[in-house]
């Protein structure tokens, strides 16, 4: 593999940066392994007894519309009860069973890969050449051809019953085997040129190391078909039959997806595999040609192709997509100009997008049963796998195209078109697998899918610009290191993106909206303590901060955001040799310094403004402190934006310049801001939170509500986002201006500028900034690790659940009376009856005790009565304490009563116990009055539930009641 952008005698070496096909093979392998796990899950679960139906119904989900936003909110918004309920009623498959699918498929594939070469060389089909080539002439010729061209001469075989003028290589890279077909052996004497050309082509496959990866793909594909696809199809049809038998419809979004998804998977894999194999063939042709193989002689003997018309032509075109070999005309033309090998095909980008979406979804399914124990880093790991293969396959495609264009002086691709296709693939894949539709046929809000398109375009533009930068500043030098850096950065960026999209972003497409009032409340109470600020901008913050908070919850965000611009610095700063300053870097770093200074100035202005408000020491918490932090964030982002805008005016490499400028400015801004906040109180007119001068670290002062975390992570995240947006706007503006003014195609000449300054200083500054940026991100990552390693079940508390319910809402779903009956029935069965009966028993005992203590229409409070009532008060309080932890009643009227019981008894129970302890008769009587109200409410709940269920003989009323699921706290 050559990694220099060198020019060969007739154009660019087609092997520049490697063929890139291994990355696409890896894409297929990851999809197959991921699909084998998730597609076997329904097969495995169909053999188990557990059912989640009870918990889903008790939570108030609509069984007919599972996966829709409403049903998801009902379960997610009641995680405290739902997670333990599922753990009890439908315990997840053990990990070893979940991983059984991929493991079995991989094992079988290994076995198949080992056996396949032996099968191919079996006696009936193949004969060892040495056994039949008595003169040894054929073998001698093959050895002559192989000498010095391949590391190892393949073992030679003849297929005497295959009469095509062809041959094939198989086996592994370490033990290659070459099979000569009868037609090829015969033409050694009659047409030696054709023999040489074809054998050299096959040897080129050996030299290009195509064997192992091709064999592995074939083996994995066959194992997948046998072990996964067949059982999956059988189970799906069996489910369909059961559905029909129960009178259900097969034409539902859910069932249709289960049928269509494997078909699409098979189709996509076939097309991409064929595409990769076709490009391998072209590479083998070119390698053989480099060895002076007379391939032209072979093409000259080929018959002209019939001109197809109409339907046949279209069918032929479609079949072309799944053929493993290009048409010979294409191969002949590729010898003259290997442009097809550098082309970024729209279909391929689209399919990469589809594969990414499918892989991502399949991987997510592995973890859905264990949702309760997932944590931030586990989510992140799930996103990292598809990100790696997508980043590698797209980056290699784009880099090759850009490097070729740069070396040959052609117009390089911008990445917009390929990004749009990649995004379309991601969208299509996610709609197809139902990730963005939420149990419906189509997404509720298509508009939000524009985000995916934007992200894909951003990613491809960024990749192409990185490639342009590397090819421009390092002409004739190895691109291996820059490519590696960009691949790692791209992987981080896509990992963060996939994780955010999977668990937060996709919800917007389902139709999630943040409730404005609740979000504003959240902003006001974000930072602990009292305080307010004039003018109040909480309404504005409520628009942005909920989204931002979700985004910075993704663990890799700081590292990904920093890597997206920091990796460019060492590439750029290393620059071309001989004292020529790399284009635009000086300008970019100058803009960054300006932007950083502006950010610090703006932070100072914010401090001066808040100081001017002259707030008392006890009013410096709450919205006051929070506004301080958020306005500092705004100041940093403003500095970054200005730096990016200035840098984007460069004649070339605008996006890298804007990224580096915005990133560096943000880093400077963060540094300045942390210093200013930490030294708060020392600079008189800039004091905001303190009156005295001391070193108080900013991360301690703004720790409340994780405000500091939000500010720093958001600032780092917004730097590359701002740079991308500003460059895009600048490009649009230039396009509009260009239409009016003289036509100007492409960017200006990208050449090094002669400089009298010391480029070494620039280089050191570049490397230093990169190191500081990465170190900052690493520190943030480590500091965040504790929170990110807390599992979902550990993280959910009554407070967070209430916050979630406030911001997202917990609507009672409009369902049919039958479904409502099932919901209430399940709620009562899963734990409602237990709580109600306890409360009723306590209430009855309480009323009895009070009735006995009644004298002349008044209750005589005696120590004996108090002692008798105290445990009842505590018990009622305990029963009410379950109310926030257990499911809400899926009937609005009953829920209102149930909530009233919970609130009243939870407050009155402990008050009653306290009054007894203090022997305070008045307080005792007041609390009892409240408790009696609570008891009345719970009686009403019981009555309402009985009225809905309407059958006293139902089994739910008989037998011992089931205790509610115990939350894991």
């Amino acid at each position: 593999m050559t990694t220099t952008a060198g020019r060969s005698s007739d154009g660019l070496d087609e092997r520049v940066l490697g063929a890139g096909t291994n990355a696409r093979f890896a894409l297929l392998l990851v999809l197959l392994v991921a699909a084998s796990g998730s597609m076997l899950l329904p097969v495995l679960t169909s053999f188990r007894a557990g059912s989640s139906t009870g918990c889903l119904l008790a939570a108030g989900a609509d069984l007919d519309r599972l996966g829709t936003l409403g049903s998801t909110l009902r379960t997610t918004g009641q995680s405290l009860a739902y997670l333990p309920c599922i753990a009890r009623d439908d315990p997840p498959l053990p990990w070893w069973q979940i991983l059984l699918g991929p493991a079995a498929v991989l094992l079988l594939a290994t076995a198949v890969a080992a056996v396949l070469p032996r099968w191919k060389q079996r006696g009936g089909r193949c004969v060892e050449l040495a056994l039949v080539d008595r003169t040894g002439a054929v073998e001698a010729r093959v050895r002559d051809l192989a000498a010095g061209r391949v590391d190892q001469v393949p073992a030679l075989f003849v297929a005497p019953v295959v009469f095509t003028r062809s041959g094939t290589v198989f086996g592994g890279n370490r033990r290659p085997r070459l099979r000569l077909n009868a037609g090829l052996v015969a033409c050694r004497d009659t047409d030696p040129d054709a023999f040489d050309a074809i054998v050299l082509h096959e040897l080129a496959h050996v030299a290009n190391r195509d064997l192992t990866v091709t064999g592995a793909t074939v083996a994995l594909w066959r194992s997948f078909l046998t072990l996964v696809l067949c059982p999956y199809v059988l189970i799906t049809f069996w489910k369909g039959a059961r559905l029909v038998a129960r009178g259900g419809s097969l034409f539902t979004a859910d069932y249709s997806r289960q049928v269509v998804l494997p078909m699409v998977t098979v189709l996509v894999i076939s097309v991409v595999r064929a595409e990769v194999l076709r490009s391998r063939e072209l590479h083998a042709d070119l390698t053989a040609r480099r060895w002076r193989a007379p391939l032209e002689h072979v093409w000259a003997t080929m018959p002209a192709r019939d001109d197809l018309r109409g339907v046949r032509r279209r069918v032929d075109g479609a079949l072309e997509l799944v053929r493993t070999h290009p048409r010979w005309e294409v191969r002949r033309d590729a010898l003259a100009d290997p442009a097809p090998l550098f082309e970024v095909r729209a279909l391929l980008m689209f399919l990469i997008g589809v594969i990414a979406a499918l892989t991502n979804y399949h991987l997510m399914w592995h973890f859905v049963p264990h949702m309760a124990m997932m944590n931030g880093w586990l989510y992140q790991t799930v996103g990292a796998a598809p990100a790696a293969v997508v980043a590698a396959s797209t980056a290699l495609l784009l880099w090759r195209a850009v490097v070729r264009a740069t070396v040959l002086g052609l117009r390089p691709p911008t990445g917009v078109r390929s990004g749009l296709w990649l995004g379309a693939g991601l969208v299509a894949g996610s709609v197809l697998n139902g990730h963005t539709t939420g149990g419906l046929w189509l997404p509720a809000r298509w508009g939000a899918l524009g985000l995916v398109m934007a992200a894909a375009v951003g990613f491809t533009c960024w990749t192409t610009q990185c490639a342009r930068l590397a090819a421009t500043v390092r002409p004739g030098r190895s691109l291996r290191l820059p490519l590696a850096l960009v691949l790692v950065a791209g992987w981080l960026v896509l990992s963060a993106w996939f994780t955010w999209w999977d668990y937060y972003g996709a919800l917007f497409v389902h139709g999630v909206r943040y409730d404005g009032v609740a979000a504003r409340q959240a902003v006001v109470h974000w930072f602990p303590g009292a305080g307010t600020v004039r003018p109040d901008t909480s309404a504005l913050m409520a628009q942005v901060l909920p989204v931002l908070r979700e985004a910075v919850r993704v663990p890799l965000v700081p590292l990904a955001a920093v890597a997206s611009w920091a990796v460019l610095l060492p590439v750029w700063a290393a620059g071309p040799p001989a004292g020529r300053v790399p284009p635009s870097l000086r300008r970019a770093l100058g803009a960054a310094l300006g932007g950083g200074a502006l950010a610090v100035l703006c932070v100072g202005a914010v401090q001066a403004w808040l100081h001017h408000l002259d707030v008392g020491a006890d009013r410096r918490g709450g919205l006051y402190a929070f506004s301080y932090a958020i306005w500092c964030l705004a100041a940093i982002v403003l500095g970054a934006a200005v730096a990016a805008a200035v840098a984007a005016r460069a004649p070339a490499l605008r996006l890298p310049a804007a990224l580096v400028a915005a990133g560096t400015a943000t880093l400077l801004g963060i540094g300045g801001t942390v210093l200013l906040i930490s030294a708060d109180g020392c600079l008189g007119p800039l004091s905001v939170l303190n009156d005295s001068c001391a070193w108080r670290p900013a991360w301690r002062q703004l720790q409340g509500g994780l405000t500091f975390h939000l500010v720093i992570h958001a600032a780092l995240l917004l730097a590359p986002v701002t740079a991308l947006l500003i460059t895009a706007l600048a490009a649009l503006a230039r396009r509009t201006a260009g239409r009016r003014g003289p036509h100007h195609v492409g960017s200006g000449p990208v050449t090094g500028l002669p400089s009298t300054r010391r480029p070494r200083l620039l280089s050191a500054f570049g490397h230093g900034t990169c190191a500081v940026a990465l170190a900052t991100a690493a520190v943030l990552l480590v500091a965040d690790a504790h929170d990110q390693l807390r599992s979902h079940a550990q993280a959910v508390t009554p407070t967070t659940q209430a916050q979630f319910q406030r911001s997202m809402g917990l609507p009672t779903l409009p369902v049919s009376p039958g479904m409502r009956w099932r919901q209430v029935h399940a709620w009562y069965r899963v734990g409602g009856r237990y709580l109600i009966e306890h409360a009723l028993a306590d209430g009855t005992a309480l009323v009895k005790a009070l009735t006995e203590a009644r004298r002349d229409e008044r209750i005589e409070v005696t120590p004996a009565l108090m002692a008798k009532v105290r445990p009842l008060c505590t018990s009622l309080g305990n029963a009410a304490g379950w109310e926030p932890y257990y499911f809400q009643v899926p009937d609005p009227a009953a829920q209102a009563l149930w909530h009233r019981f919970g609130v009243t008894a939870l407050a009155a129970g402990p008050r009653c116990a306290e009054a007894v302890d203090r022997s305070d008769s008045a307080a005792f009587l007041t609390s009892l009055a409240d408790l009696l109200k609570a008891v009345r409410a719970v009686r009403d709940v019981s009555g309402r539930v009985g009225q809905i269920l309407d059958n006293p003989k139902d089994r739910v009323f008989t037998g011992p009641p089931l205790a509610p699921p115990q939350p894991r706290l």
């Binding site: 191919k120 056994l131 005497p160 295959v162 009469f163 095509t164 003028r165 052996v185 074809i198 290009p326």
Partner: protein, 189 residues
């Protein structure tokens, strides 16, 4: 293709025959003389029993290997054309003698049995029968795309081989220089 009726000739059935030419030997000799570039191919075919070779020749499976050269054009080779034609001729001659003896046996069991069968032998032929075989080979060669000259040489070679076969020679024994006959020991490598 010649369709002259097979008349006359006192020929014994294959199982009873004691003289004649084995198809595989005839193919090998004719290919060595007319298309020496195919000797390696024929040697490869000769490592299998007649039944196996015929089954594979008739199947004509395509080449679908992912790393193959990708040319699907079938090269007109002498060996397969000749072997199939001789087998057809032998069957016709035999069929005339034992009507429908072992035709249409395509079950797996029969095929397995056949693969272990002894090499096929063409018995000594009458002049008419030789003419028939000559015509069949010529026609098949033309159909397969061989040049008329080559087809004639092959047909002549076949007839010469049939005529020159020593009636006293025991066809079951390998001739000097020939490979071991897998028909006797199937699967031997």
């Amino acid at each position: 293709m010649a369709t002259a009726p097979l008349t006359g000739g006192q020929v014994t059935s294959p199982s009873e025959q004691i003289a004649g030419v084995r198809v595989r030997d005839l193919v090998r000799d004719v290919v060595a003389a007319c298309a020496p570039e195919e000797v390696v191919v024929v040697d490869g075919l000769l490592r299998q029993s007649d039944a196996e070779v015929l089954a594979r020749l008739r199947r004509r499976r395509g080449d679908r290997d992912p790393l193959g050269f990708g040319l699907a054009d079938i090269v007109p080779l002498v060996a397969p054309v000749l072997w199939l034609t001789l087998e057809r001729a032998r069957e016709r001659i035999a069929q005339n003698l034992v009507e429908g003896a072992s035709r249409g046996s395509s079950t797996l069991w029969r095929r397995m049995l056949r693969r272990r069968s002894a090499p096929e032998v063409i018995p000594p032929l009458s002049r008419d029968q030789q003419r028939l075989v000559h015509g069949m080979v010529l026609d098949a060669g033309g159909e397969a795309g061989l040049s008329p000259d080559l087809a004639r040489r092959i047909a002549d070679g076949v007839v010469a081989g049939l005529v020159l076969a020593d009636p006293d020679e025991e066809p079951g024994e390998p001739r000097e220089g020939a490979e071991a006959v897998p028909g006797d020991a199937p699967g031997e490598r």
